[in-house]
Symmetry: C2
Subunit: 249 residues, 2 copies
Protein backbone atom coordinates (compact mmCIF):
# COMPACT_ATOMS: atom_id res chain seq x y z
CA UNK A 1 0.00 0.00 0.00
CA UNK A 2 1.59 3.25 -1.10
CA UNK A 3 0.61 6.31 0.93
CA UNK A 4 0.35 9.58 -0.91
CA UNK A 5 0.19 11.52 2.28
CA UNK A 6 3.81 12.33 3.03
CA UNK A 7 4.06 15.76 4.55
CA UNK A 8 7.43 17.29 5.28
CA UNK A 9 8.92 20.27 7.04
CA UNK A 10 12.11 22.18 7.69
CA UNK A 11 13.17 23.92 10.88
CA UNK A 12 15.07 27.20 10.87
CA UNK A 13 16.75 28.05 14.17
CA UNK A 14 17.68 31.74 14.30
CA UNK A 15 20.23 32.92 16.82
CA UNK A 16 23.90 33.68 17.39
CA UNK A 17 23.74 31.97 20.78
CA UNK A 18 23.35 28.56 19.16
CA UNK A 19 26.12 29.16 16.61
CA UNK A 20 28.52 30.37 19.29
CA UNK A 21 28.03 27.15 21.23
CA UNK A 22 26.75 29.02 24.28
CA UNK A 23 23.29 27.48 24.08
CA UNK A 24 22.47 23.93 23.02
CA UNK A 25 19.49 23.75 20.70
CA UNK A 26 16.67 21.65 22.10
CA UNK A 27 13.86 23.13 20.01
CA UNK A 28 14.69 20.93 17.03
CA UNK A 29 14.07 17.83 19.11
CA UNK A 30 10.86 19.26 20.62
CA UNK A 31 9.47 20.33 17.26
CA UNK A 32 10.52 17.19 15.40
CA UNK A 33 9.04 14.86 18.01
CA UNK A 34 5.76 16.75 17.98
CA UNK A 35 5.66 16.99 14.18
CA UNK A 36 6.26 13.24 13.84
CA UNK A 37 3.29 12.62 16.08
CA UNK A 38 1.02 14.52 13.70
CA UNK A 39 2.51 12.96 10.56
CA UNK A 40 5.00 15.62 9.49
CA UNK A 41 8.57 14.53 8.83
CA UNK A 42 11.38 17.02 9.42
CA UNK A 43 13.79 16.67 6.51
CA UNK A 44 16.22 19.51 7.12
CA UNK A 45 17.30 21.89 9.86
CA UNK A 46 19.31 25.05 9.40
CA UNK A 47 20.78 27.27 12.08
CA UNK A 48 21.62 30.83 11.02
CA UNK A 49 22.80 33.96 12.83
CA UNK A 50 20.74 37.09 13.53
CA UNK A 51 21.58 38.41 10.07
CA UNK A 52 18.71 39.59 7.88
CA UNK A 53 20.07 38.45 4.53
CA UNK A 54 20.82 34.96 5.83
CA UNK A 55 17.32 34.65 7.28
CA UNK A 56 15.63 35.85 4.09
CA UNK A 57 17.74 33.75 1.72
CA UNK A 58 17.32 30.64 3.84
CA UNK A 59 13.57 31.10 4.25
CA UNK A 60 13.16 31.54 0.51
CA UNK A 61 14.81 28.18 -0.11
CA UNK A 62 13.06 26.29 2.68
CA UNK A 63 9.54 27.57 2.08
CA UNK A 64 9.71 26.41 -1.54
CA UNK A 65 11.28 23.02 -0.80
CA UNK A 66 9.10 21.90 2.13
CA UNK A 67 5.42 21.80 2.99
CA UNK A 68 6.00 23.65 6.27
CA UNK A 69 8.77 25.75 7.75
CA UNK A 70 9.06 26.39 11.49
CA UNK A 71 11.33 29.13 12.73
CA UNK A 72 12.50 29.44 16.31
CA UNK A 73 14.03 32.55 17.86
CA UNK A 74 14.33 36.26 17.21
CA UNK A 75 10.80 37.43 18.05
CA UNK A 76 11.52 39.16 21.38
CA UNK A 77 11.82 42.87 22.15
CA UNK A 78 15.57 43.50 21.75
CA UNK A 79 17.71 44.78 18.87
CA UNK A 80 18.87 41.27 17.95
CA UNK A 81 15.27 40.09 17.44
CA UNK A 82 14.85 40.53 13.69
CA UNK A 83 12.79 37.53 12.64
CA UNK A 84 9.43 39.33 12.16
CA UNK A 85 10.97 42.08 10.03
CA UNK A 86 13.00 39.55 8.02
CA UNK A 87 9.90 37.42 7.37
CA UNK A 88 8.02 40.54 6.22
CA UNK A 89 10.78 41.24 3.70
CA UNK A 90 10.89 37.60 2.62
CA UNK A 91 7.24 37.80 1.57
CA UNK A 92 7.34 41.45 0.42
CA UNK A 93 4.81 42.39 3.12
CA UNK A 94 4.58 45.50 5.26
CA UNK A 95 6.10 45.19 8.76
CA UNK A 96 3.49 46.81 10.96
CA UNK A 97 1.56 46.76 14.20
CA UNK A 98 -0.69 43.71 14.37
CA UNK A 99 -3.91 45.02 15.91
CA UNK A 100 -5.03 41.75 17.47
CA UNK A 101 -1.58 41.12 18.95
CA UNK A 102 -1.57 44.68 20.29
CA UNK A 103 -4.88 44.06 22.05
CA UNK A 104 -3.64 40.79 23.52
CA UNK A 105 -0.50 42.34 25.01
CA UNK A 106 -2.30 45.49 26.13
CA UNK A 107 -4.63 43.28 28.16
CA UNK A 108 -1.81 40.96 29.29
CA UNK A 109 0.35 43.63 30.94
CA UNK A 110 -0.59 45.84 33.87
CA UNK A 111 -1.45 49.46 32.98
CA UNK A 112 1.73 51.32 32.06
CA UNK A 113 3.78 48.16 31.58
CA UNK A 114 3.10 47.73 27.87
CA UNK A 115 6.15 49.84 27.07
CA UNK A 116 7.98 50.60 23.83
CA UNK A 117 10.20 47.51 24.14
CA UNK A 118 7.20 45.25 24.47
CA UNK A 119 5.35 47.01 21.67
CA UNK A 120 8.06 45.82 19.31
CA UNK A 121 6.66 42.32 19.84
CA UNK A 122 3.40 43.23 18.07
CA UNK A 123 5.22 44.35 14.92
CA UNK A 124 4.61 41.61 12.34
CA UNK A 125 4.14 41.03 8.63
CA UNK A 126 0.76 42.47 7.58
CA UNK A 127 -2.13 40.02 7.88
CA UNK A 128 -0.04 37.53 9.84
CA UNK A 129 -2.05 34.82 11.56
CA UNK A 130 -1.33 34.69 15.28
CA UNK A 131 -0.04 31.69 17.19
CA UNK A 132 -1.18 32.17 20.76
CA UNK A 133 1.27 32.07 23.65
CA UNK A 134 -0.22 30.73 26.89
CA UNK A 135 3.03 31.27 28.82
CA UNK A 136 4.18 34.84 28.34
CA UNK A 137 1.58 36.61 26.21
CA UNK A 138 3.53 37.63 23.12
CA UNK A 139 2.16 35.61 20.20
CA UNK A 140 4.05 33.95 17.37
CA UNK A 141 2.66 34.21 13.86
CA UNK A 142 2.41 32.49 10.52
CA UNK A 143 2.48 33.66 6.91
CA UNK A 144 1.56 31.07 4.28
CA UNK A 145 3.56 27.93 5.18
CA UNK A 146 6.04 29.66 7.53
CA UNK A 147 5.36 29.44 11.29
CA UNK A 148 7.38 31.67 13.60
CA UNK A 149 7.91 30.61 17.19
CA UNK A 150 10.05 31.96 20.02
CA UNK A 151 13.47 30.61 20.98
CA UNK A 152 12.84 30.04 24.70
CA UNK A 153 12.22 26.26 24.85
CA UNK A 154 9.50 26.24 27.52
CA UNK A 155 7.52 28.95 25.73
CA UNK A 156 7.87 27.29 22.33
CA UNK A 157 6.67 24.01 23.82
CA UNK A 158 3.59 25.65 25.33
CA UNK A 159 2.57 27.05 21.93
CA UNK A 160 2.46 23.75 20.04
CA UNK A 161 -1.06 22.92 21.22
CA UNK A 162 -2.34 26.08 19.55
CA UNK A 163 -0.64 25.12 16.30
CA UNK A 164 -2.26 21.74 15.92
CA UNK A 165 -5.29 22.88 13.95
CA UNK A 166 -3.14 24.83 11.52
CA UNK A 167 -0.92 21.95 10.43
CA UNK A 168 -2.28 19.19 8.22
CA UNK A 169 -0.06 16.14 8.58
CA UNK A 170 -0.03 12.75 6.91
CA UNK A 171 0.08 9.41 8.67
CA UNK A 172 1.89 9.69 12.01
CA UNK A 173 5.43 8.37 11.78
CA UNK A 174 5.73 5.36 14.06
CA UNK A 175 8.96 4.13 15.55
CA UNK A 176 10.22 1.14 17.46
CA UNK A 177 13.56 0.67 19.18
CA UNK A 178 15.42 -2.58 19.81
CA UNK A 179 18.45 -2.21 22.05
CA UNK A 180 21.15 -4.85 21.96
CA UNK A 181 24.22 -5.69 24.00
CA UNK A 182 26.55 -5.74 21.00
CA UNK A 183 28.66 -3.45 18.83
CA UNK A 184 27.63 -2.17 15.41
CA UNK A 185 30.22 -4.13 13.45
CA UNK A 186 28.77 -7.44 14.75
CA UNK A 187 25.38 -6.77 13.21
CA UNK A 188 26.23 -4.48 10.28
CA UNK A 189 25.93 -7.11 7.55
CA UNK A 190 22.73 -8.67 8.91
CA UNK A 191 21.19 -5.24 9.32
CA UNK A 192 22.07 -4.27 5.75
CA UNK A 193 20.20 -7.38 4.54
CA UNK A 194 17.13 -6.46 6.60
CA UNK A 195 17.23 -2.90 5.24
CA UNK A 196 17.51 -4.24 1.66
CA UNK A 197 14.45 -6.43 2.26
CA UNK A 198 12.44 -3.62 3.88
CA UNK A 199 12.92 -0.53 1.77
CA UNK A 200 9.90 1.23 3.25
CA UNK A 201 11.21 1.11 6.79
CA UNK A 202 13.94 3.53 7.78
CA UNK A 203 16.41 1.55 9.89
CA UNK A 204 18.88 3.49 12.03
CA UNK A 205 21.69 2.04 14.08
CA UNK A 206 23.00 4.04 17.05
CA UNK A 207 25.79 2.94 19.37
CA UNK A 208 25.34 3.89 23.01
CA UNK A 209 27.37 3.74 26.19
CA UNK A 210 25.14 3.42 29.22
CA UNK A 211 25.87 2.42 32.80
CA UNK A 212 29.40 1.51 31.77
CA UNK A 213 28.34 -0.82 28.98
CA UNK A 214 28.35 -0.55 25.19
CA UNK A 215 25.27 -1.29 23.18
CA UNK A 216 23.46 -0.52 19.96
CA UNK A 217 19.94 0.80 19.55
CA UNK A 218 18.23 -0.12 16.31
CA UNK A 219 15.42 2.27 15.46
CA UNK A 220 12.71 1.32 12.96
CA UNK A 221 10.60 4.13 11.52
CA UNK A 222 7.63 3.97 9.17
CA UNK A 223 4.04 5.13 8.86
CA UNK A 224 3.03 1.48 8.73
CA UNK A 225 3.06 -0.59 11.93
CA UNK A 226 2.84 -3.93 10.12
CA UNK A 227 5.95 -3.12 8.13
CA UNK A 228 7.75 -2.24 11.35
CA UNK A 229 6.56 -5.53 12.86
CA UNK A 230 7.83 -7.54 9.89
CA UNK A 231 11.18 -5.78 10.03
CA UNK A 232 11.36 -6.32 13.78
CA UNK A 233 10.82 -10.07 13.33
CA UNK A 234 13.68 -10.27 10.83
CA UNK A 235 15.96 -8.47 13.25
CA UNK A 236 14.96 -10.67 16.19
CA UNK A 237 15.77 -13.69 14.01
CA UNK A 238 19.41 -12.74 13.46
CA UNK A 239 19.72 -11.47 17.03
CA UNK A 240 18.65 -14.88 18.28
CA UNK A 241 20.94 -16.72 15.85
CA UNK A 242 23.91 -14.62 16.94
CA UNK A 243 22.92 -15.11 20.62
CA UNK A 244 22.92 -11.35 21.21
CA UNK A 245 21.28 -10.15 24.41
CA UNK A 246 18.33 -7.73 24.13
CA UNK A 247 18.49 -4.96 26.74
CA UNK A 248 16.29 -2.17 28.02
CA UNK A 249 17.22 1.37 27.19
Amino acid sequence: MIKNTKVNAAILIIGNEILSGRTKDTNTSTLATWLNSIGVKVEEVRIVPDVEKMIIDTLNVLRKNYDYVFTSGGIGPTHDDITAESVSKTFGLKYEIHKEAFKILEAYYKPGEFNEGRQKMVMMPENAELILNPTSGAPGFSIENVFCLPGVPSILKSMLGGLKNKIVGGEPILSQTISLRTVESEIANSLTKVQDNNKDVEIGSYPFFHAGKLGVSIVLRSENQSKIDECNLQILKFVSEKKIEIVDR
Copy 2:
Protein backbone atom coordinates in the same frame (compact mmCIF):
# COMPACT_ATOMS: atom_id res chain seq x y z
CA MET B 1 41.92 48.53 14.08
CA ILE B 2 40.36 46.33 11.44
CA LYS B 3 41.40 42.68 11.57
CA ASN B 4 41.73 40.87 8.29
CA THR B 5 41.90 37.55 9.99
CA LYS B 6 38.27 36.47 10.15
CA VAL B 7 38.01 32.76 9.60
CA ASN B 8 34.64 31.08 9.38
CA ALA B 9 33.14 27.62 9.28
CA ALA B 10 29.95 25.68 8.79
CA ILE B 11 28.87 22.51 10.55
CA LEU B 12 26.98 19.74 8.80
CA ILE B 13 25.26 17.27 11.11
CA ILE B 14 24.35 14.08 9.27
CA GLY B 15 21.78 11.75 10.76
CA ASN B 16 18.13 10.80 10.79
CA GLU B 17 18.24 10.47 14.58
CA ILE B 18 18.62 14.22 15.00
CA LEU B 19 15.88 15.05 12.49
CA SER B 20 13.46 12.60 14.11
CA GLY B 21 13.93 14.31 17.47
CA ARG B 22 15.17 11.11 19.08
CA THR B 23 18.63 12.51 19.75
CA LYS B 24 19.44 16.08 20.74
CA ASP B 25 22.45 17.47 18.90
CA THR B 26 25.25 18.49 21.24
CA ASN B 27 28.09 18.32 18.72
CA THR B 28 27.28 21.78 17.34
CA SER B 29 27.88 23.30 20.75
CA THR B 30 31.08 21.28 21.31
CA LEU B 31 32.51 22.15 17.91
CA ALA B 32 31.46 25.81 17.99
CA THR B 33 32.91 26.40 21.45
CA TRP B 34 36.19 24.80 20.45
CA LEU B 35 36.33 26.61 17.11
CA ASN B 36 35.73 29.99 18.80
CA SER B 37 38.68 29.30 21.06
CA ILE B 38 40.97 28.95 18.04
CA GLY B 39 39.50 31.93 16.20
CA VAL B 40 37.03 30.26 13.87
CA LYS B 41 33.46 31.54 13.85
CA VAL B 42 30.66 29.13 13.01
CA GLU B 43 28.27 30.96 10.69
CA GLU B 44 25.85 28.24 9.69
CA VAL B 45 24.74 24.77 10.73
CA ARG B 46 22.74 22.35 8.66
CA ILE B 47 21.25 19.06 9.73
CA VAL B 48 20.44 16.62 6.94
CA PRO B 49 19.26 13.00 6.80
CA ASP B 50 21.30 9.97 5.75
CA VAL B 51 20.50 10.68 2.11
CA GLU B 52 23.39 10.81 -0.34
CA LYS B 53 22.05 13.56 -2.59
CA MET B 54 21.30 15.85 0.35
CA ILE B 55 24.78 15.34 1.79
CA ILE B 56 26.51 16.00 -1.55
CA ASP B 57 24.41 19.05 -2.46
CA THR B 58 24.80 20.58 0.99
CA LEU B 59 28.55 19.95 1.12
CA ASN B 60 28.99 21.55 -2.27
CA VAL B 61 27.35 24.74 -1.03
CA LEU B 62 29.05 24.86 2.35
CA ARG B 63 32.60 24.08 1.21
CA LYS B 64 32.44 26.97 -1.25
CA ASN B 65 30.86 29.47 1.16
CA TYR B 66 33.01 28.85 4.26
CA ASP B 67 36.70 28.46 5.07
CA TYR B 68 36.08 25.17 6.85
CA VAL B 69 33.30 22.60 6.97
CA PHE B 70 32.98 20.08 9.79
CA THR B 71 30.71 17.10 9.38
CA SER B 72 29.51 14.95 12.23
CA GLY B 73 27.98 11.50 11.89
CA GLY B 74 27.68 8.70 9.37
CA ILE B 75 31.20 7.24 9.49
CA GLY B 76 30.47 4.03 11.40
CA PRO B 77 30.17 0.47 10.09
CA THR B 78 26.43 0.14 9.37
CA HIS B 79 24.32 0.58 6.23
CA ASP B 80 23.17 4.06 7.31
CA ASP B 81 26.76 5.34 7.53
CA ILE B 82 27.20 6.93 4.12
CA THR B 83 29.27 10.02 4.84
CA ALA B 84 32.64 8.76 3.51
CA GLU B 85 31.13 7.56 0.24
CA SER B 86 29.11 10.77 -0.15
CA VAL B 87 32.20 12.92 0.44
CA SER B 88 34.10 10.89 -2.16
CA LYS B 89 31.36 11.61 -4.69
CA THR B 90 31.26 15.29 -3.69
CA PHE B 91 34.91 15.67 -4.63
CA GLY B 92 34.85 13.19 -7.54
CA LEU B 93 37.33 10.96 -5.74
CA LYS B 94 37.57 7.18 -5.57
CA TYR B 95 36.00 5.58 -2.47
CA GLU B 96 38.61 3.03 -1.44
CA ILE B 97 40.51 1.34 1.37
CA HIS B 98 42.74 3.84 3.14
CA LYS B 99 45.96 1.91 3.79
CA GLU B 100 47.05 3.86 6.86
CA ALA B 101 43.58 3.63 8.41
CA PHE B 102 43.58 -0.11 7.66
CA LYS B 103 46.87 -0.55 9.52
CA ILE B 104 45.60 1.46 12.48
CA LEU B 105 42.46 -0.64 12.89
CA GLU B 106 44.25 -3.92 12.18
CA ALA B 107 46.56 -3.11 15.10
CA TYR B 108 43.70 -1.75 17.25
CA TYR B 109 41.56 -4.89 17.20
CA LYS B 110 42.46 -8.31 18.53
CA PRO B 111 43.35 -10.90 15.87
CA GLY B 112 40.18 -11.99 14.07
CA GLU B 113 38.12 -9.04 15.32
CA PHE B 114 38.84 -6.72 12.42
CA ASN B 115 35.81 -8.08 10.59
CA GLU B 116 34.00 -7.02 7.43
CA GLY B 117 31.78 -4.52 9.31
CA ARG B 118 34.78 -2.79 10.82
CA GLN B 119 36.64 -2.82 7.53
CA LYS B 120 33.96 -0.54 6.13
CA MET B 121 35.33 2.15 8.44
CA VAL B 122 38.62 2.31 6.49
CA MET B 123 36.82 3.04 3.22
CA MET B 124 37.45 6.72 2.49
CA PRO B 125 37.96 9.16 -0.35
CA GLU B 126 41.36 8.51 -1.97
CA ASN B 127 44.24 10.43 -0.39
CA ALA B 128 42.11 11.50 2.58
CA GLU B 129 44.11 12.86 5.49
CA LEU B 130 43.34 10.99 8.71
CA ILE B 131 42.03 12.53 11.91
CA LEU B 132 43.14 10.21 14.69
CA ASN B 133 40.67 8.77 17.17
CA PRO B 134 42.12 8.18 20.63
CA THR B 135 38.85 6.73 21.95
CA SER B 136 37.72 3.97 19.64
CA GLY B 137 40.34 3.59 16.93
CA ALA B 138 38.42 4.37 13.74
CA PRO B 139 39.81 7.64 12.36
CA GLY B 140 37.95 10.54 10.82
CA PHE B 141 39.37 12.17 7.73
CA SER B 142 39.65 15.40 5.79
CA ILE B 143 39.62 16.33 2.12
CA GLU B 144 40.53 19.91 1.28
CA ASN B 145 38.53 22.10 3.69
CA VAL B 146 36.03 19.39 4.74
CA PHE B 147 36.70 17.59 8.04
CA CYS B 148 34.65 14.48 8.80
CA LEU B 149 34.09 13.48 12.40
CA PRO B 150 31.93 10.82 14.07
CA GLY B 151 28.50 11.48 15.56
CA VAL B 152 29.09 9.98 19.03
CA PRO B 153 29.70 13.10 21.17
CA SER B 154 32.40 11.70 23.47
CA ILE B 155 34.40 10.34 20.52
CA LEU B 156 34.07 13.56 18.53
CA LYS B 157 35.25 15.54 21.53
CA SER B 158 38.31 13.35 21.98
CA MET B 159 39.37 13.96 18.37
CA LEU B 160 39.51 17.76 18.51
CA GLY B 161 43.00 17.83 19.98
CA GLY B 162 44.33 16.03 16.91
CA LEU B 163 42.63 18.57 14.64
CA LYS B 164 44.23 21.64 16.12
CA ASN B 165 47.31 21.72 13.89
CA LYS B 166 45.19 21.36 10.76
CA ILE B 167 42.96 24.38 11.34
CA VAL B 168 44.33 27.88 10.94
CA GLY B 169 42.11 30.27 12.85
CA GLY B 170 42.09 34.04 13.25
CA GLU B 171 41.95 35.95 16.49
CA PRO B 172 40.11 33.95 19.15
CA ILE B 173 36.57 35.19 19.62
CA LEU B 174 36.23 36.54 23.15
CA SER B 175 32.99 36.81 25.03
CA GLN B 176 31.71 38.30 28.24
CA THR B 177 28.35 37.80 29.89
CA ILE B 178 26.47 40.22 32.14
CA SER B 179 23.42 38.74 33.81
CA LEU B 180 20.72 41.03 35.11
CA ARG B 181 17.62 40.67 37.26
CA THR B 182 15.33 42.32 34.73
CA VAL B 183 13.24 41.54 31.67
CA GLU B 184 14.30 42.24 28.10
CA SER B 185 11.73 44.96 27.46
CA GLU B 186 13.16 47.09 30.31
CA ILE B 187 16.57 47.30 28.68
CA ALA B 188 15.73 46.94 24.98
CA ASN B 189 16.08 50.63 24.08
CA SER B 190 19.26 51.21 26.08
CA LEU B 191 20.80 48.08 24.63
CA THR B 192 19.96 49.17 21.08
CA LYS B 193 21.84 52.42 21.69
CA VAL B 194 24.89 50.55 22.99
CA GLN B 195 24.79 48.25 19.96
CA ASP B 196 24.55 51.28 17.63
CA ASN B 197 27.60 52.81 19.32
CA ASN B 198 29.59 49.57 19.22
CA LYS B 199 29.14 48.06 15.79
CA ASP B 200 32.16 45.77 16.14
CA VAL B 201 30.81 44.01 19.20
CA GLU B 202 28.09 41.43 18.73
CA ILE B 203 25.59 42.00 21.54
CA GLY B 204 23.10 39.25 22.30
CA SER B 205 20.26 39.38 24.78
CA TYR B 206 18.95 36.12 26.22
CA PRO B 207 16.14 35.82 28.74
CA PHE B 208 16.57 33.07 31.33
CA PHE B 209 14.49 31.52 34.07
CA HIS B 210 16.69 30.18 36.83
CA ALA B 211 15.91 29.13 40.40
CA GLY B 212 12.39 30.46 39.96
CA LYS B 213 13.48 33.91 38.85
CA LEU B 214 13.49 35.70 35.52
CA GLY B 215 16.60 37.41 34.24
CA VAL B 216 18.43 38.44 31.09
CA SER B 217 21.96 37.52 30.08
CA ILE B 218 23.70 40.02 27.84
CA VAL B 219 26.52 38.44 25.88
CA LEU B 220 29.24 40.57 24.28
CA ARG B 221 31.39 38.95 21.61
CA SER B 222 34.37 40.33 19.71
CA GLU B 223 37.98 39.50 18.86
CA ASN B 224 38.98 42.66 20.70
CA GLN B 225 38.92 42.71 24.52
CA SER B 226 39.14 46.51 24.77
CA LYS B 227 36.04 46.88 22.59
CA ILE B 228 34.22 44.43 24.85
CA ASP B 229 35.39 46.40 27.90
CA GLU B 230 34.14 49.69 26.43
CA CYS B 231 30.79 48.14 25.59
CA ASN B 232 30.59 46.60 29.05
CA LEU B 233 31.11 50.02 30.67
CA GLN B 234 28.29 51.53 28.63
CA ILE B 235 25.99 48.71 29.70
CA LEU B 236 26.96 49.01 33.36
CA LYS B 237 26.15 52.73 33.10
CA PHE B 238 22.50 52.24 32.11
CA VAL B 239 22.18 49.26 34.45
CA SER B 240 23.22 51.48 37.34
CA GLU B 241 20.95 54.34 36.22
CA LYS B 242 18.00 51.97 36.02
CA LYS B 243 18.93 50.43 39.40
CA ILE B 244 18.95 46.94 37.91
CA GLU B 245 20.55 44.21 40.00
CA ILE B 246 23.50 42.31 38.50
CA VAL B 247 23.33 38.59 39.25
CA ASP B 248 25.53 35.53 38.87
CA ARG B 249 24.60 33.02 36.28
